[in-house]
């Protein structure tokens, strides 16, 4: 004989349906807790990442871009687009009271490219003044970008050393950026010289919506960090009051809509986790109670053969722990496959920035979910274990006759 431990395994194998139900239940509980909390965290990280990537207090775009919701869609939803305003606005805006750092950006959407099945957004920045993209690009590419060098977002099917063609212009992939969970993962970044060449080429090929644009004299967007002692709202109002045909937008305000959605989704997920957890705990409590009631006579026999009250309780607890370990391991595996394999789909469905935490953090969440599930199962079984440890052996054995 292989001992008391084997008795636990044999008891579980002896009732396969009951055991499978308990394992599935614990797996479902782990799956819900782990994927729910990972989704919540990924959404929070996504919005943090978006805020960090925007990196400016105020953004100024042509007024026409905001009336069509074009700009916010580009930033938040990842839709492509481009618009231009005169370069003179950069100088005019920098003179407004409270404006600190100023840098211009240039937008263009690709027509087609080998990297991507759909058009991608191309953003150009001025390395001399830029304070948003350069620090981020520097993490992946330590050198200064040469003309015709680009860095690509993490989700694009292009790698360092590849050559891409935009409007017939060959560009080289100098670096691939780290994942942000935002629309920037499908964006191509380059310096202002390169993007001006691309805009020029698109105009020559008559593939640009704008026909009379001089690439050397336009910008798409002006990013601003307010000067010390000023707040972004005040500066935004100043710009909107004093500069015609442009719209200044506080980035915080732009993100607030996303943050509100995130808060709603996060609350729903939290309620769902709580509801499934309570339901799971109740079902496990019932399952263990039924299982122990059904096997009262077997426990009485074990008591007759010399099992102490503690031993009977430990048998129930060991069964709960074993099903908990197997179920939570299976649940964790499924949860990680779902989250890693379908993260993109979840992001698309929710329509919110979504950035999975690091592997270490995911492992931490998985461990916490496993512990929570096992503890829940053990707590549910503890009630039955206590009850079975108090059985009246004589009464149970006589009840049969």
């Amino acid at each position: 004989m292989n001992g008391f431990k084997n008795l636990t395994v044999k008891s579980l194998l002896g009732k396969p349906v009951r055991t499978i139900v308990l394992v599935l239940l614990t797996a479902l509980l782990t799956l819900t807790v782990l994927d729910g909390s990972l989704t919540q965290t990924s959404l929070e990280k996504g919005i943090d990442s978006l805020e960090a990537r925007l990196g400016a207090d105020v953004m100024v775009v042509p007024y026409s871009a905001t009336t069509k919701q074009k700009f916010e869609d580009m930033v938040l939803q990842g839709s492509t687009g481009y618009f231009y305003m005169g370069k003179n606005y950069v100088e005019e805006i920098s003179q407004i009271e409270g404006v600190g750092e100023v840098s211009a950006q240039f937008f263009l959407a690709s027509a087609s490219s080998s990297c991507c099945s759909l058009p991608v957004q191309i953003i150009g920045y001025e390395p001399e003044t830029d304070f948003t993209i350069s620090p981020w690009v520097k993490k992946s590419y330590g050198k200064k970008l040469d003309t015709y060098d680009v860095v690509v977002g993490n989700d694009l099917n292009a790698f360092v050393g590849d050559s891409l063609y935009f409007y017939g212009v060959k560009v080289n992939v100098a670096a691939k950026l780290e994942k942000t969970g935002t629309s920037y993962d499908t964006t191509v970044f380059t310096n202002s010289d390169t993007i001006k060449e691309l805009i020029r080429s698109s105009l020559e090929l008559k593939m640009n919506d704008f026909v009379d644009v001089d690439p050397d004299n336009v910008v798409s967007c002006v990013l601003i960090n307010v000067a010390d002692g000023y707040n972004p709202e005040e500066v935004t109002n100043n710009i909107n009051l004093h500069v015609k045909k442009v719209k200044a937008i506080q980035t915080k305000e732009m993100i607030s809509g996303v943050a509100d959605s995130l808060s709603g989704v996060s609350s729903v997920i939290g309620i769902l986790i709580g509801a499934v957890w309570v339901l799971g705990a109740v079902i496990m409590l019932l399952a263990f109670t039924m299982s122990v009631n059904e096997r009262k006579k077997e426990f009485a026999v074990l008591r007759v053969l010399g099992a102490s009250r503690g031993k009977l309780a430990s048998l129930v607890m060991k069964e709960a722990l074993l099903t908990g370990i197997v179920g939570s391991a299976a649940g964790t595996l499924i949860a990680l496959v779902v989250m890693v394999g379908f993260g993109g789909l979840i992001e698309d469905l929710l329509g919110l920035p979504f950035l999975l935490p690091s592997a270490g953090a995911v492992a931490g969440y998985a461990a916490a979910a496993i512990v929570l599930t096992i503890v829940t199962g053990a707590a549910a079984a503890a009630v039955s274990a206590f009850r079975i440890s108090r059985i009246d052996t004589g009464v149970i054995l006589r009840g049969d006759n």
Binding site: M1, L7, S11, R309, T393, L397, R398
Partner: protein, 224 residues
């Protein structure tokens, strides 16, 4: 060393009756000597099984003591009393008492399994012999669901005696057996006593007296 019951009384709460407390056993004294078979008979509800349960360490008396080696077994902590039951007592309960997830041999070896005791070759040989003597040798790998009532009862007897207990408690061991199986079981319990065990049999079978050293009758909780 004998097992002595001194003035055992057991009272139960029965709320459905007007008197909410009744005595199932009232001031019973009994001594089980090694090498003897004691048969306890009497009508149903007379208190026989309650006496057996109290003497086998399964039911604490309301009053009185069960003495083994000069100490009351109910003064022991549950863990110690359970271990004592496992080492020195062999109990054959009423009815079918197989663990259905285990096969016959695994059921018989349960007293060892419970305390992670490794069964040596002699023990395994003894288990095989018990199966032979009880005429269930070919069933060691069978599951309880495949066995008849008589075979299950004989399996329970083998399980109770596998550790060569000093005291064997058999509660209606032939309750659902035919005459032939009844004879086999009583002969087996008699031989266990002949090998040195003290055996207490609670039964309605009149033929049990033929195998006993002492027959006692119980009625209304008292030995009469």
């Amino acid at each position: 060393m004998p097992l002595s019951a001194e003035s055992l009384t057991k009272q139960f709460i029965r709320e459905s009756k007007n008197a909410n407390c009744f005595s199932a056993v009232d001031d019973v004294s009994l001594r089980l000597e090694e090498g003897t078979v004691t048969v306890l008979t009497g009508r149903s509800g007379g208190g026989k099984t309650t006496v057996l349960n109290m003497m086998s360490g399964l039911l604490a008396p309301t009053k009185g003591r069960v003495l083994l080696d000069d100490s009351d077994i109910y003064s022991l902590a549950d863990k110690e009393l359970s271990r004592l039951r496992n080492r020195r007592f062999g109990v054959i309960p009423q009815g079918q008492t197989a663990i259905h997830s285990l096969n016959v041999m695994q059921n018989i070896m349960l007293p060892y399994t419970l305390y992670n005791e490794r069964a040596d070759e002699d023990t395994l040989k003894r288990a095989e012999e018990l199966l032979e003597r009880l005429d269930i040798a070919g069933l060691s790998a069978s599951k309880p669901a495949e066995l008849s009532g008589g075979e299950l009862r004989r399996m329970a007897i083998a399980r109770a005696v596998i550790k060569k207990p000093d005291f064997i408690f058999a509660d209606e061991p032939t309750g659902d057996l035919d005459d032939e199986n009844t004879k086999t079981v009583f002969e087996f319990l008699r031989s266990a006593a002949d090998e040195g065990a003290a055996v207490l049999i609670v039964t309605h079978e009149e033929c049990a007296a033929a195998y006993a050293d002492r027959v006692m009758k119980m009625a209304s909780g008292k030995i009469v």
